[in-house]
Symmetry: C2
Subunit: 488 residues, 2 copies
């Protein structure tokens, strides 16, 4: 009897007493294409072992492969990566969607004042509770990894906690409790702006200088853990607004994964030009921060020269469309970035929405609105349908932004996976026909939602089962307790 | 014991043998505000009888009110109205999201060629099957009424069917089978464009002149039915591109509800100026078509003068954001329209997405992207949160576009209702606090999705129960059969 490779490998391992799970879905995203009836075997190291054709098993015991999980009516995809998060901002959802009295011009800067109020008031226990809930929400939505752009470090008056890493430990604990993989990015933040000291409400964010920040980094690195549910540690520069040139230069010397907010609002660019005679991306290039490990978050208002600098340096861009539209930031020139070879990822940022499908759809929809054209990020022919690049940005692109070996279903890659409900009204009819794999992926990408996600695996362990996260009830209760405190 | 009005009324009616259902949800949208623990009584005429404070009933039999439906963990809202639909276009989802070889400029007009191919090939049975499925999908998504902009009238070669109303009967039958209320809008379509006869692929759409169209209208009116699941009949002018001036003038003389595509693409406006020396809205004003019963669909590329004309005439605008972004149409000036007193509604149009929450969120998000500001359609203070106007556009605005007494929970209005799942991760934490009703509505409007909808009532009859539509399996099978034919 002809055996499929992945299944055969699983049998051998089982006979040796090694735990292997074989996942057999109706469709599996392999090599960027949805292919029917593949078997994906996952080892006890939490990585994909093999991928090969599945055969229908009439009963698991037939072959001794009691570890086969038949995902009927589902598609198996890599888990999405949330490459930009400020978890505590989840408290703001629905709360800043009206005009303050006397504010004719309601914009990003007005929102930021409301956000600072929340940032000022939350204590460590509350930050952990909000973050745990936000991470659980992310998992249910199909995110298997989050990069936490972590800038709330100190007590409200700016004094470090007795343990200076108190809040870093809290968000790492949240990731463990929820069961999501994490890349912690301690953020460097020095001043209110060029020639402007930090305001009272920014005190929790600050590092005096790069030495102080380097201390935070080395302490944070002790929180790293390369197990099934990993904790990685990188770093972030808040923005060129929040750091002076010498701080940025010293950060460049540190190396490794570095994220930064860039070009989100016109005012930031004007300030940077006034201070340095350079636009933000130009300044970051000048201080040596652009590299293949650099991720510019937003990049909304970049010009052609800045696109070129990003492309030439191998730098990446993380787009946060649902937040960027909520805050009135605008639409970045994504086609130009892709043409320059810049890798894209997504992030839920302020968590106005926690839905990777909403983010990836908005990448293409934004380009269509900007240009008046269709299929801007797509290729030619059914195989070039825009589902491919969009899902890739949400998975592989995000993994790349975090320096994580995940984001694709491939031997050796982390088994961070999600199953998608093919019975959803959103997807009915899309898989029919010879090009069905392509149109199904396009429908997922442009007509999907978080509710498509049924099961979620992190490092091969199933953490969401048929929509249920075991810690949900507790996480939710903890979050609602914080909300009652905050709004009373 | 103090009795709530709605509950007491229900008891009296029950004692008289009249069927009344009392719906008691955790929140009910009443007078534009989410209010806790109201009882909504619905009579056997399918209309709301009364709304008043609910009291918690320890057991239904305590009071003999066995007709109380306790919607715990849910909010009760008016059903959404889909004011613009071409149901057959549902076959295209996910299928046109790649570039055709040789087409550098992929845009609306390229999409339209693909859409015509589908329109040409479907026979009456297939149109009914696709439409039934699309309508069932709409119901599950929370739409209780749909305005069908019905332009596929004849056989593929342009000959009327033996029964000239064959396809009108088919879509009406679909609405009945699915259980959705409908406003049928037979569409007048005469030519390919100014001085351009209709192409081969447009033959199914055509009426030779206004007399022929008036015949279609009078025949269609016999399909009307004012029962629990209503069928209303209005009319539509396809566009100023598709009709010459005298046809438009004769339509204006007919009166009643009239919809028309307006200003969707720059090329249409250029053609209209070349032909008439007027922009499309100006032409429609000139021929006497603008009135409070007129609904301009899209209105994407309108100027200040056209905004003024719409406002002065009392005309309405139906926005189809998820289609308008998919097709690269652009973003309409909604704040200007609202300031001019124009009533807004939504439509799923091509059904790239069938999700009223996606449509209403995009109304505000589009304005934020266009202007760089936040809270563009919102008012001042928590009570002015943008959830109010957005939900209103999706419900009351749509009912107004159809001339339907629905879209709000109010004594005498149709009991077209939906229940919303308050346990969804999307909404957790939003209802906390004194302003919780406002922030919850804002979260629904900006962070919602079709999957929030649990139960759907049309004319007081529950047609979707806890996410289940009884005809779903059959409708889905019928649709998949058509898809297999179409893509083979």
């Amino acid at each position: 009897m002809l055996r499929d490779g992945a299944g055969y490998l699983a049998e051998i391992r089982a006979s040796l007493g090694l735990m292997t799970v074989v996942l057999h879905a109706d469709y599996t995203l392999f090599d960027g294409v949805l292919q029917p009836h593949l078997a994906v075997s996952v080892g006890d190291d939490g990585r994909v072992l093999a991928v090969g054709p599945a055969r229908e098993l009439s009963a698991p015991s037939d072959t001794g492969e009691s570890s086969v999980v038949r995902l009927a009516g589902k598609a198996l995809l890599p888990g999405f990566v949330n490459a930009h998060s400020h978890a505590f901002q989840r408290v703001l959802r629905g709360r800043t969607e009206y005009r303050e009295p006397g504010h004719e011009d309601d914009d990003f800067w007005a929102w930021r004042a409301a956000m600072y109020d929340a940032a000022t008031r939350l204590d460590p226990e509350q930050i952990e509770a909000v973050t745990t809930f936000a991470y659980a929400e992310m998992l249910r939505a199909g995110y298997t990894h989050v990069a936490e752009f972590h800038y709330v470090h100190h007590q409200p008056d700016g004094t470090p906690y007795a343990d200076p890493l108190e809040l870093s430990r809290r968000v790492v604990a949240s990731a463990r409790t929820a069961g999501i993989g994490m890349t912690l990015l301690p953020v460097a933040y020095q001043r209110g702006g060029p020639g402007t000291p930090a305001s009272a409400k920014q005190r929790r964010f600050l590092h005096r200088d790069a030495d102080a920040f380097a201390n935070t980094l080395s302490g944070s690195r002790e929180l790293a853990d390369l197990g099934r549910c990993p904790v990685q540690v990188g770093m972030a520069a808040h923005s060129v607004r929040a750091l002076d040139r010498s701080f940025l230069e010293e950060m460049a010397a540190l190396g490794g994964v570095v994220h930064a907010h860039v070009n989100e609002q016109p005012k930031e660019i004007a300030q940077c030009l006034a201070e340095h005679g350079l636009r933000p991306i130009e300044l970051l290039a000048d201080v040596g921060l652009l590299s293949p490990q650099f991720v510019g978050v937003h990049a909304t208002h970049i010009d052609e020269a800045e696109v070129r600098l990003l492309g030439e340096s191998g730098a990446q861009v993380c787009v946060c469309p649902t937040t960027e539209r909520n805050l009135g930031d605008g639409l970045p020139p994504l086609r130009d970035l892709v043409d320059a070879g810049v890798s894209l990822s997504i992030g839920s940022d302020s968590h106005a929405n926690v839905d990777p499908f909403a983010e990836i759809a908005a990448l293409e929809n934004g380009e269509r609105l900007r240009s008046g054209k269709r299929n801007v990020l797509a290729g030619v022919g059914p195989g070039g349908a825009v589902g491919g690049p969009l899902i890739a940005a949400g998975t592989r692109g995000g993994a790349r932004a975090c320096g994580l070996d995940a984001g694709r279903i491939h031997p050796g890659s982390r088994a961070d996976l999600v199953s998608i409900d093919l019975e959803s009204p959103r997807l009915v009819g899309s898989s029919v026909g010879a090009e069905g794999g392509h149109s199904l992926l396009a429908a997922m990408a442009l007509s999907g939602s978080a509710e498509l996600v049924q099961d979620v695996w992190v490092g091969g362990a199933r953490v969401v089962n048929n929509g249920h996260h075991p810690g949900w009830r507790e996480a939710r209760a903890g979050f609602e307790t914080v909300m009652r405190s905050l709004v009373s």
